[in-house]
């Protein structure tokens, strides 16, 4: 609205003034107000932003010329010519946010100093640099003598990620609050997860048949949450296996995951009071190649015929290769993965499948610890919160307000 009003006023003025002096053809180009230079916000510190207000001279054929120089009065080197109808603050929301007012400000990012406009390898900008602005309609050039300067520096906080920080804090407070709540009244209601209830029975059955239990941790490394969740479930499962004095085989895809699993299973046997029953070479490394691993695990399944196969963690196309071989040996199979693309194959081959989030809830569910169960309640409240946001957000954005969409913009 603001822009339109100014334009209207300008047109009437020109019409009124220019009618007697129509003969004069020199363009009346006024210097833009608010010409400033500043370190580009939210960046690593390798660029400077030049800002100046959009004005009446922004018309076809008019362009701004940017000059830079390392010294205040030093040689002014032409950097670039920018069309006056392009380059606004609103083009870079990651620096200047989403307010409407950005559309009325020109913006030019300087990342290097060129000796001349055709300079092929300009020097990256590091120290304080001075800038001048000029305007030209293709033929004559009018320089504006206001000089501004700025120095690039790394910023310590990226304001465009404020919304992420707020949501991280909300979720963390919700979850930690419910964990502390669980410390007070431990009897929290948690719905049954059939796949996890079946683990006890599955291990019992395997012990009766005198055949081992096979446990896989997926194909990611130890820094991925899917694998961490899988090793924590292994701890609880190994504890039950030790109580039944049965054996658990863990063929591994990654040496670090193998070491963690050896540590976890050893502790489980120790806590079950059977430290000597722990066989470290039941947890062994095969290979770090997807299909060689699948071929070797298939071989183990066909030869050792484990009575129970547990597939936890993240899987790729080899999931069906392993699970379908397991079906042929009549094993009881429980899978838990957050690999959404592989869930259809586990559902068609396993007796129980933990879907996505249930993999992460498994270790808390099996531990029965109030602290751990508290976090599940915190997750439920977060889910309720997201459902509300989805419904309100859609209604709001259908009604035309972009508030919600902008709230969740990520850069």
């Amino acid at each position: 609205m603001h822009n339109m009003f100014k334009f209207f006023v300008l047109v009437t003025v020109i019409l009124f003034v220019s009618s007697p002096i129509m003969a004069q053809d020199k363009p009346s180009l006024t210097p833009p107000e608010g010409f400033t230079a500043l370190d580009t916000p939210n960046d690593i510190g390798n660029s400077i932003s030049l800002l100046w207000q959009a004005s009446a001279n922004d018309k076809e054929g008019i362009s701004y010329i940017i000059y830079a120089s390392p010294l205040e009065d030093g040689p002014w080197l032409e950097q670039d010519r920018v069309l006056s109808t392009l380059g606004f603050k609103s083009d870079a929301p990651q620096y200047f946010g989403l307010s409407e007012e950005n559309e009325t400000w020109h913006f030019y990012e300087v990342t290097s100093i060129k000796k001349d406009p055709t300079d092929k390898n300009p020097l990256p900008i590091t120290a304080t640099t001075y800038f001048k602005l000029a305007i030209s309609n293709g033929t004559d050039v009018i320089e504006f003598h206001s000089i501004v300067s700025a120095a690039p520096e790394g910023n310590w906080f990226d304001t465009s990620k404020l919304n992420v920080l707020i949501f991280v804090s909300i979720f963390s407070i919700l979850i930690l609050y419910f964990i502390s709540l669980a410390r007070k009244n431990p009897n929290l209601f948690i719905r049954h997860i059939p796949g996890l209830d079946a683990i006890e029975e599955t291990i019992g059955r395997a012990t009766e048949m005198g055949r081992p239990i096979l446990y896989l941790n997926g194909l990611l490394d130890m820094s991925s949450l899917s694998t961490i969740a899988s090793t924590s479930i292994l701890g609880k499962v190994a504890r039950k296996v030790a109580n039944y004095d049965s054996q658990i085989m863990v063929p591994c895809y990654d040496p670090i995951v193998m070491s963690v699993c050896q540590e976890v299973v050893k502790e489980a046997y120790a806590e079950a009071g059977r430290p000597d029953a722990f066989k470290e070479d039941n947890i062994f490394f095969i290979t770090n190649d997807q299909f060689a691993y699948a071929a070797a695990v298939d071989g183990i399944i066909m030869r050792h015929k484990p009575a129970a196969n547990l597939f936890m963690g993240y899987y790729y196309a080899e999931s069906l290769l392993i699970a379908e071989t397991g079906v042929a040996t009549g094993a009881m199979q429980i899978a838990g993965t957050d690999a959404i693309t592989q869930l259809p194959f586990f559902i068609t081959t396993c007796d129980y499948t933990l879907m996505g989030e249930e993999l992460y809830a498994a270790s808390a569910y099996l531990s029965r610890e109030p602290l751990q169960l508290g976090s599940l309640k915190g997750q439920d409240y977060s889910k309720g919160f997201i459902i509300l946001v989805l419904i309100i957000g859609t209604i709001a954005s259908t009604a035309g307000s972009a508030f919600f969409i902008n709230l969740f913009r990520t850069f």
Partner: protein
């Protein structure tokens, strides 16, 4: 016999060896499996030596003097304390280092990349100009789907009454989605088999001296021999 023909015989042989697991576990599959295991581990050792150790550690440390790399070296070596029970606990520090790094890195990225982008995608305005009533209906179906699936996964609420009904809707969405993506991938898997069949057919041509056919017949004969030998052995064991 230039290397292409030899390569053809090897490829045809190994393909038939691995396919033989479809019949049942047999020496051919075991041979292929162990050959593949050895080759892949050999390949990994080469990669580790040249890329990780020489490229990632030896050169930067000794030639470019990046002494900070001593820290990961110590962390990596500390994993070997596992062989000495008394000081095995030191390896836990490396576990914590990796697990802590993974957890810290994930939280903001999964909120920005996971939650925000999903929300941004779902709350797009329904009634965009020129949107047909069908698109508006589909938009509503998506929101109902996402909400009901989320409610299905509620942990601290009993699946009773209204919650149970909504969860049922949620699981229906999940099942249709999984059925569809299962059906969708069948074509991709089939084209893999088509690719192998092309090769096997090509290796059965005179140019490759009928490699596939010769190898197939040989394998079947040997398997029959192997089965009968095993039955005789089991027979003699049974009455021995």
């Amino acid at each position: 016999m230039d290397s292409t023909i030899l390569g053809g015989w090897i490829a045809a042989g190994l393909t038939l060896f691995m396919f033989s697991s479809l019949y049942k576990d047999n020496p051919f599959y075991r041979f292929g499996e162990h050959l593949y295991l050895g080759l892949s581990v050999g390949y990994i050792i080469l990669k580790v030596i040249y890329a990780n150790i020489i490229g990632g550690l030896y050169k930067p440390l000794f030639e470019d003097h990046q002494y900070m790399l001593l820290i990961p070296t110590i962390l990596g070596l500390s994993l070997y304390t596992r062989f000495f029970p008394k000081i095995a606990w030191i390896s836990r520090i490396t576990f914590a280092f990796i697990v802590g790094y993974g957890s810290g890195l994930t939280i903001p990225r999964i909120i920005a990349g996971g939650i925000f982008q999903q929300i941004e995608k779902i709350i797009t305005p329904l009634g965009k100009t020129g949107a047909t009533w069908w698109e508006v209906f589909s938009g509503i179906v998506i929101i109902i789907g996402v909400a009901s699936v989320l409610i299905y996964f509620f942990f601290s609420v009993e699946h009773k009454g209204i919650i149970n009904k909504i969860s049922r809707v949620g699981i229906y969405f999940v099942m249709i989605a999984f059925g569809a993506s299962f059906g969708y991938t069948v074509m991709a898997r089939m084209s893999l088999l088509i690719g192998r069949s092309y090769d096997l057919i090509e290796f059965a041509t005179p140019k490759y001296y009928y490699a596939t056919i010769v190898l197939l017949v040989l394998m079947v004969l040997i398997l029959i021999l192997y089965e009968s030998m095993r039955k005789k052995e089991e027979g003699s064991e049974a009455n021995a």
